[in-house]
Amino acid sequence: MSINLGPGFEDRLSAGEPAAFRELVETYKRKFYGLAYEFTRNSADAEDVSQVAFIKVFRSIKTFKKGANLNSWLYRIVVNAAIDHLRKRSFFPSSLPGGIDVEQAGPAEDPARRAEAILLREKIDRALEAVSEREKAAFLLRHDHGLDLKEIAEVLGVSLGAVKSYLFRSVRKIQKEIQYV
C-alpha cells in the first residue's frame, strides 16, 4: 500500500526541503510509533524508536534512490531501528516490557469489552513474542500497515517466498494462541 504524498514530493524531500520533511513526519508519525510500540511494548521506547527512525530518514534522505519505493524504504528504517533497540535493550534492560500500559489499552468503553480487548491483546502479544523478529515484522506490516508482500520483501530484504513463510508461521502461532477466545 503506497502512500501518495503528491507529485514531486520525493524530489522536494531529497533536496532537503524542511516542509517536505515535516509533511513526511506528519504522515508517518502514527505508523512509525504504532509499529515501534508493537516491538517495544512501551510508549516511551516507542517514541524514542520512532524519533530515531525519523532522524535516520532526515540524515540519509539523499541516499534514497529516485524511483525506489519510498514507503518500503521508510518502513525498512523503522523496522531496523526497532530491532536495534530491542537488541540494545537485551544488553541494558532498563525498561523491560511488563504487559501493556493499562491506561493505553484503548478508548474508554464498557469494562467487559475493554477487558476482552486487553485479554486478546495479551494473547496476540504472547503469540508475537514467540515468533522471530522478521516473522513479527512481516505480520505487522501486512496486517496492521497494509503493505503488500512485495513491499514487505523489500523492507525485510528477503524473497517473496520467505515473506509468505513468515506470515504462515505468525498466523499459525496466533491461531494457536487464540483458539479458545
Binding site: 510508549s43 496466533i174 483458539q179
Partner: protein, 284 residues
C-alpha cells in the same frame, strides 16, 4: 493429499488478498470440496479478525500535537552535540620512540620476517609426510598413507552431506510443519552435486576394495537421484516416498556405521561390533 498441503501453504496469500486469477479459483474450488481445509482456512480467518480487534494504544492528541516539536528539538540537540564534540581532524597522537628504520621499510621487513618464520615452521615443525594420519580405533591399521586419506576424506564428506539432506527430509513432518520449512530447492541442488560425484567415488572405492562403502554410496546415489528429480516443492507425496525408502533401508543407520568405522583405508575394512552384528547392507 498434496493439494491439501498446497492449499494450506497458500492460506496466508488468500487471507491477505494476495491471490487472484486461476490460483484463487483453484483455491476456492478446493475449499468447497475439502471440509478439513475449509475449516483450517476459517480458523485462520477468525484468528486474523480477532487480531484486528485487539486494542491499539493511542497516546492521545496532546502527544501527537507535540511530536514534531520534540523531534525537532532532538534533531537540534544532536546537531549541537555533534558540533561541540572534538574535531576528528586532530586526535592527540602518543609520542613514538624514534624509528630505527625508515617507515617505508617497515612493511617489507615485517613481511620478510613472517615469511622466514613460515619457512622455518614448514620445514622443521610440520615436515610433510613425516607424520602418519591416525585412524580412530585399531592398532594394526592405525596409520594410512596420505594419498589414501584423500579418498577417506572424500567419502566422509560425501556421507556427511548426504546425511544432512536425508535428515532434513526424514525429520520433516508436513502435517505439523510449515511447508516452506523444507528447503527443497536447496536439497535438490545439493543432491544433484552429490549424484554427479557418486560415480567417481564409487569407482575409487572399488579400487580401494571398500565394497561396503561402495555399496552405501550406490544406495545413497539412488535416493539422492530421486531427491534431485523432485519436480516441485509441492510434490510432498514424492517426498514421503523418499522418506519411506530411506527409512526402510536404514540408510541413516548405515551412514552412522560407516562414520564409526572411520575413513576408508584402502584395504578390507575392520568390522565394528554393530556392523558385524547386522551382517551387511540390504541392497536396493
Amino acid at each position: 493429499m498434496s493439494s491439501c498441503r498446497a492449499f494450506r501453504k497458500r492460506i496466508p496469500e488468500a487471507l491477505f488478498g494476495e491471490m487472484a486469477g486461476r490460483r484463487r479459483e483453484m483455491f476456492e474450488r478446493h475449499r468447497t470440496e475439502c471440509s478439513a481445509c475449509a475449516a483450517e482456512y476459517a480458523e485462520a480467518l477468525r484468528a486474523l479478525h480477532l487480531a484486528g480487534r485487539r486494542s491499539r494504544p493511542d497516546p492521545g492528541q496532546a502527544f501527537w500535537d507535540g511530536y514534531w516539536d520534540r523531534l525537532q528539538a532532538r534533531i537540534a540537540e544532536e546537531e549541537r552535540l555533534e558540533a561541540e564534540s572534538p574535531a576528528p581532524a586532530a586526535p592527540a597522537k602518543p609520542s613514538r620512540p624514534k624509528a630505527v628504520f625508515p617507515r617505508w621499510l617497515a612493511v617489507p621487513a615485517a613481511a620478510s620476517a613472517i615469511l622466514v618464520v613460515g619457512i622455518f615452521l614448514g620445514r622443521y615443525v610440520f615436515k610433510p609426510g613425516s607424520r602418519p594420519v591416525p585412524v580412530p580405533g585399531g592398532a594394526a591399521s592405525s596409520v594410512i598413507p596420505a594419498s589414501e586419506m584423500d579418498l577417506g576424506a572424500r567419502a566422509s564428506r560425501y556421507l556427511d552431506r548426504s546425511k544432512r539432506i536425508l535428515l532434513a527430509i526424514v525429520n520433516y513432518h508436513p502435517e505439523t510443519q510449515d511447508p516452506y520449512g523444507l528447503d527443497l530447492p536447496g536439497q535438490r541442488s545439493a543432491s544433484r552435486e552429490l549424484v554427479a560425484e557418486a560415480a567417481a567415488l564409487k569407482s575409487d572405492l572399488g579400487r580401494a576394495k571398500d565394497r561396503r562403502l561402495e555399496r552405501l554410496v550406490g544406495d545413497l546415489e539412488k535416493i539422492l537421484l530421486q531427491i534431485a528429480n523432485l519436480e516441485s516443492e509441492d510434490d510432498l507425496d514424492a517426498v514421503n516416498i523418499i522418506k519411506a525408502g530411506a527409512e526402510s533401508r536404514d540408510i541413516l543407520f548405515e551412514i552412522n556405521i560407516a562414520e564409526l568405522r572411520g575413513p576408508t583405508s584402502g584395504g578390507p575394512s575392520p568390522k565394528t561390533p554393530a556392523s558385524a552384528s547386522r551382517g551387511g547392507i540390504s541392497s536396493m
